[in-house]
């Protein structure tokens, strides 16, 4: 069952991309040294290992009398360097497991999901059960009875795709219900900014990102990072540590870097010339006040607004207070956002006087709070008031650059040819022809459930909404009406996931648990390498393995220094009885008599060749299949004409008629006609951007009555020492001060950042175990008392591994998403809200908790890595 080609003893080096974005798009390429079937080390690939630099036409940036020379090795983040710990993690699932009190022929006991334990079963038995259940569900409820979660972040594998392999099988059985992924990384941009400037598919500037690193170097005078951490977000995805290097160079060039965020994030810590602390999710107030200053003082580009902007008058009326009688002055804003009015004035003055680019990773908590559509589209409006697109004035995306823009152009038939954030390669190497998983671009099922309302839909059995929230859908989809179940179709009764992390990564994990225990869900199937998070709710768990145990092909085409194609040869034999996700589904297909249809008559090696052929390397005369097999990797040379590609939005700036944006008028629409037409009564997302204090759905401001009980605003970032839920068990990260806080009880708590003034008020000292709580539940953490956070705010990363003291109520592991808001971004925006909400912090009453829940504190625990597998393995107890 495991992949063919047993490893010979001896030493060898293989190549593996360590990007954890998944979807077959790779980055952070590494060399893996192996000896006698054991991984010795993981280290950066030096591009000039088997090629002379001249062969790949190395590039440089020259600006303001200085030169930037990109390093000749891949900028691996610590995730890649430490990845051995995941391959050999004590949480690896090594054989199939079945929940002890789930019997597909008898009692299923859904109420015990998350509580009852697991017994080992054979692959044969597991596959029989799985195939039997699929057949039964499809027969009884139709293929739509099966929900596939099908995609998420994780290892970037192509043939052995980590997510979505089940979609190919279910399509052969007549279809399935797709869990639609909301624009989780882009909420505000998708729901808000797209209405101002289009910029499909996600509303963050991706299509018009070519050569922006260079444009900033030459022309930008001030770089604002508002909801941006170039030192953290790129790590898990693309670009590794290259954005870090760019920021250091920008400082050398004298470009002023201003960070506007509640926490001194890791980028601000080393790059900020100015930190402007701001309360979570209050950016709109600051932005409105900046616009107020510009309008009142006439310090904006009036000529540009006349030719490039629609609806400025209505926007201006709101800003000046003509619409609601409240002028959005700096003093008004200061009370909302915690930034002193004089600082707002100085920012407005400097922004107007200096060529300013705003930079992001994806936006983070800035665009993942309640009403996130508003700060996102305000930002575009502010940029639009200062000549967006002129040299030095753009929106820079550190992580992806043009990547999704390239997908979008392909979809729109515009051809892929476009630049990259970094000097573009002659060809952008893509091996996706061999991708056997699913990404939202590929297709969209008719039967869908938005992930953000999955818990509600299971409980109620229906929904009736506008907009599917599918992150790759064009903006028009937000006006489309969707109902579930589809006419003539039934609800879901089986959940099949290869991305079991809703609990700690999505909205209201506690509600998700309740839904998992609903008897409507007759079968929950998990396939995953590690037994973490949602996995403990499964009825059957199948062990998939890591890419280091598989053969595959990879291509680095995120914005790193150089793009590569590489053969990812197997490093070690599969651990235990694990197989790749692709092989697992193939085995299930085999039981259903569909193996040849599923693998299309191809072996994994055949698929690897398909991927290589699709990359155009051989067709373009760049690299033959033979050469790739000899050298194992190929560095695509830099396009000698890279500098000629227009930078950022310069073409729109120069001629908005000739190069329009994809909005209905082709211009920047500060007032959106379509929003006015479709949602005239939507107070949370009006035709012009607004400050929304509260609504039926959300009441999370410091002005709220709730704030009397829950007086702190919580900010939750993309984690520093994880990629979402992954890597939470890496002992080497736990030893880092911001990694985990070891409590007085020896447990590794998730760090909770508090300002000394807030800690003192609550009698909390550094290292204390604290309880963060609101009406939705309680989450424990370890106090990190620091000046790296502003008063009034508590900071905790999302993604910590769930460890329930009381399932659905009290979590010890630090999974803050169990108590984040239940409701979506706003009434008509089914986005997630995972930051910018009220909590209170107090010293945890550990004695009280131990007295009340002794079993919760007696579970097996490893002092270095955390929860152990033993906890979930059935030992014959009652």
């Amino acid at each position: 069952m495991a992949q063919k080609g047993k490893i010979k003893s001896g030493e060898k080096t293989v190549i593996k991309g360590t990007c954890l974005s998944s979807f077959g798009d790779n980055s952070n390429v590494s060399c893996v040294d192996v000896k006698d079937n054991k991984i010795v080390r993981i280290r950066p690939l030096h591009y000039d290992w088997r090629y002379k630099p001249e062969e790949f036409n190395p590039w440089q940036y020259k600006a303001r009398g200085k030169t930037f020379e990109p390093p000749l090795k891949s900028p691996l983040p610590p995730f890649g360097v430490a990845y051995k710990k995941r391959i050999y993690s004590p949480n690896r699932i090594l054989y199939p497991l079945k929940r002890v009190d789930w019997d597909p022929k008898g009692e299923r006991n859904p109420q015990n999901r998350g509580i009852s334990k697991y017994v080992r079963i054979s692959w044969d038995e597991a596959l029989d059960i799985v195939a039997g259940e699929i057949k039964r569900v499809v027969k009884k409820y139709g293929p739509e009875g099966v929900l596939l979660q099908a995609e998420g972040h994780g290892e970037s594998k192509v043939v052995n795709a980590a997510h979505g392999c089940p979609t190919y099988l279910m399509k052969l059985l007549g279809g399935y219900t797709q869990q639609v992924r909301n624009p989780d990384s882009w909420e505000g941009w998708y729901w808000g900014a797209k209405h101002v400037w289009g910029n499909e598919p996600v509303g963050l500037n991706m299509e018009f990102s070519s050569n922006l690193y260079n444009d900033v170097a030459h022309n930008t005078e001030m770089l604002i990072c508002q909801g941006a951490d170039p030192e953290t977000t790129p790590w898990g995805f693309g670009g590794g540590c290259l954005p870090s290097l760019m920021c250091y160079w920008y400082s050398e060039l004298g470009i002023k870097q201003v960070y506007i965020c509640p926490d001194l994030n890791y980028g601000a810590a080393v790059h900020a010339d100015k930190w402007i602390p701001i309360l979570p999710n209050t950016d709109v107030a600051l932005q409105l006040a900046v616009a107020y200053q510009w309008i009142t003082n006439g310090t904006y580009d009036k000529a540009y607004v006349k030719t490039h902007v629609i609806g400025f008058d209505k926007f201006s009326d709101y800003v000046l207070g003509k619409e609601d009688g409240v002028p959005k002055t700096p003093k008004w804003a200061a009370a909302k956002c915690g930034v002193p009015s004089r600082i707002i004035k100085a920012l407005a003055k400097e922004w107007a006087a200096k060529r300013t680019t705003v930079a992001h990773g994806y936006g983070g908590p800035y665009i993942r709070g309640p009403y996130s559509s508003e700060p996102a589209r305000m930002e575009v409006c502010l940029l639009g008031m200062q000549g967006l697109g002129k040299p030095g004035v753009n929106q820079l995306t550190f992580v992806e650059g043009t990547m999704l823009g390239a997908y979008n152009r392909g979809r729109a038939g515009k051809g892929q040819a476009m630049g990259m954030l970094t000097p573009t390669s002659i060809i952008r190497p893509m091996v996706n022809a061999a991708y056997r998983g699913y990404i939202p671009f590929m297709w969209k099922q008719q039967s869908i459930i938005p992930k953000t309302i999955l818990h509600d839909v299971i409980e109620s059995g229906k929904y009736d909404i506008y907009g599917s929230s599918d992150q790759m859908d064009p903006v028009e989809d937000q006006f489309k009406h969707y109902v579930y179940p589809l006419p003539g179709k039934q609800e879901i009764h089986m959940l099949w996931t290869d991305t079991p992390c809703f609990t700690t990564c999505w909205n209201d994990g506690n509600a998700f648990h309740r839904a998992m225990r609903n008897p409507k869900i007759e079968f929950m199937l998990v396939q995953h390498p590690w037994l973490e998070n949602d996995s403990i709710f499964a009825d059957i768990i199948l062990p998939s393995n890591t890419k280091f145990e598989e053969n595959d092909i990879g291509a680095d085409h995120w914005p790193v220094q150089y793009n590569c194609v590489y053969l990812e040869e197997k490093a070690i034999e599969p651990r235990g009885e694990s197989m790749s996700d692709y092989e697992i589904v193939e085995a299930i297909a085999d039981k259903l008599g569909l193996k040849e249809k599923y693998n299309e008559g191809k072996s994994i090696q055949d698929w690897i060749k398909v991927g290589f052929d699709g990359s155009q390397m051989e067709k373009s005369g760049l690299c033959t299949w033979k050469q790739l097999n000899e050298k194992k990797y190929y560095v695509v040379p830099t396009d000698p004409n890279w500098e000629k590609i227009p930078a950022g939005m310069i073409e729109f700036y120069q001629d908005p008629e000739k190069s329009p944006m994809s909005t209905p008028t082709g211009k920047l629409e500060f007032w959106s006609q379509r929003l006015a037409e479709h949602f005239p009564d939507d107070d949370e997302r009006l035709p012009v951007p607004h400050w929304v204090e509260k609504s039926e759905f959300h009441d999370e401001r410091i002005s709220s009555d709730r704030a009397k009980q829950y007086s702190l605003l919580c900010i939750s970032n993309h984690p520093r020492w994880r990629v979402h839920a992954q890597l939470d068990d890496v002992t080497w990260f736990h030893e880092i001060v911001t990694g985990k806080v070891r409590g007085s009880d020896g447990y590794l708590y998730e760090p909770v950042w508090l300002h000394p003034s807030d800690a003192a008020k609550r009698g909390i000292k550094n290292g204390d175990i604290v309880n963060l709580f609101n009406e939705r539940g309680q989450v424990l953490g370890g106090a990190y008392i620091t000046e790296r956070i502003m008063p009034g705010v508590v900071y905790i990363d999302h993604g910590a591994r769930y460890d329930p003291i009381v399932p659905g109520e009290i979590d010890r592991g630090g999974a803050i998403n169990t108590i984040c808001p239940h409701h979506t971004t706003s009434k008509n925006c089914a986005g997630m809200v995972t930051s910018g909400f009220l909590v209170e912090a107090k010293l945890a009453d550990m004695n009280g908790l131990r007295r009340q829940y002794p079993e919760a504190f007696n579970r097996p625990y490893d002092k270095a890595s955390g929860q152990t597998m033993e906890r979930v393995l059935y030992k014959g107890e009652e």
Partner: protein, 274 residues
């Protein structure tokens, strides 16, 4: 002879060096240079977050503690078993096969960079990955994994210019370390902001003069658009400060004690009345 130069100004706090060292030495046996270190608890390359200042004038810098491979290493004579030696390339090695676990080296080391492995009963520390250098590697793991160029390793003669910009840690120990630091965290910033509370505006262009009380040296800065001033890398000691702007009453601050990075806070200036 080899040297390591650590440029703290270029360190972004990624901890790659600390982690790469673990990747190399946990679970891997490099006898006769080094035996495996335990999974946790030892930090042959140790990174520490140093938080400077107070809200909103806060920075983080990262200190690196590592065996200094001293030319006059006190650990060598301290070891009664004679297990510690200095190679021709300058690297100091504790022979893991000769070590008797007596821990004299741990007591003798003034930099506190030697660790005790109680499972193997031996003392352990950084080896500059000598086992890799001997196989042809140009740099130890930490330097190879560093993405920003904060770590530089090589021949002392080749790195003369870089060394000239650097300093050693605790020169008073007098042990001739082979590790150099640029941007060592022994000087502090003194910062603050100036504003006009009546106009509710930051004051740009105010002249701020910092005087070292002991040696009377003066530094002058003009506040920026946010009214901010940052005096960088001041010697520890006592200072006084004067803030002046045409049309405003001056402010003076005495007894500033720079024992760490200081945010002096926000200073109000009031207009002179006629």
């Amino acid at each position: 002879m080899k040297v390591l130069v650590i440029d703290i100004n270029k360190c972004n706090g990624c901890y790659n060096c600390q982690v790469a060292c673990k990747d190399e030495h946990v679970g891997n046996d490099w006898t006769p240079i080094a035996k495996p270190q335990p999974d946790t608890g030892q930090f042959w390359m140790k990174v520490t977050d140093v938080v400077q200042g107070s809200v909103p004038k806060v920075r983080v810098r990262y200190m690196h503690d590592i065996c200094q491979h001293c030319d006059d290493a006190p650990c060598i004579p301290a070891c009664k078993a004679g297990s510690i030696y200095k190679r021709e390339d300058g690297i100091v090695v504790i022979d893991p096969e000769k070590c008797t676990g007596a821990r004299q080296c741990i007591d003798a080391c003034p930099y506190k960079v030697i660790y005790f492995n109680s499972d193997l009963n031996i003392s352990q520390k950084c080896t500059m990955c000598a086992h890799l250098l001997d196989k042809g590697w140009k740099e130890p793991r930490c330097v190879d994994a560093c993405p920003t160029g904060a770590l530089t390793f090589g021949e002392e003669a080749d790195l003369k210019d870089l060394i000239a910009k650097a300093e050693i840690l605790h020169p008073e120990y007098k042990v001739k370390p082979r590790v150099y630091y640029i941007g060592l965290l022994n000087k502090y910033f003194i910062a603050g902001a100036v504003y006009d509370p009546e106009a509710d505006e930051c004051l740009e262009g105010a002249m701020v003069t910092l005087t070292n009380t002991k040696n009377k040296k003066k530094s002058t800065l003009k506040t920026d658009v946010f009214g901010d001033f940052w005096f960088e890398r001041q010697e520890p000691g006592k200072y006084s400060l004067v803030i002046e702007k045409a049309g405003y009453l001056s402010r003076k601050v005495e007894s500033i004690d720079a024992v760490k990075d200081l945010n002096l806070g926000d200073f109000e200036l009031y207009k002179k009345v006629a």
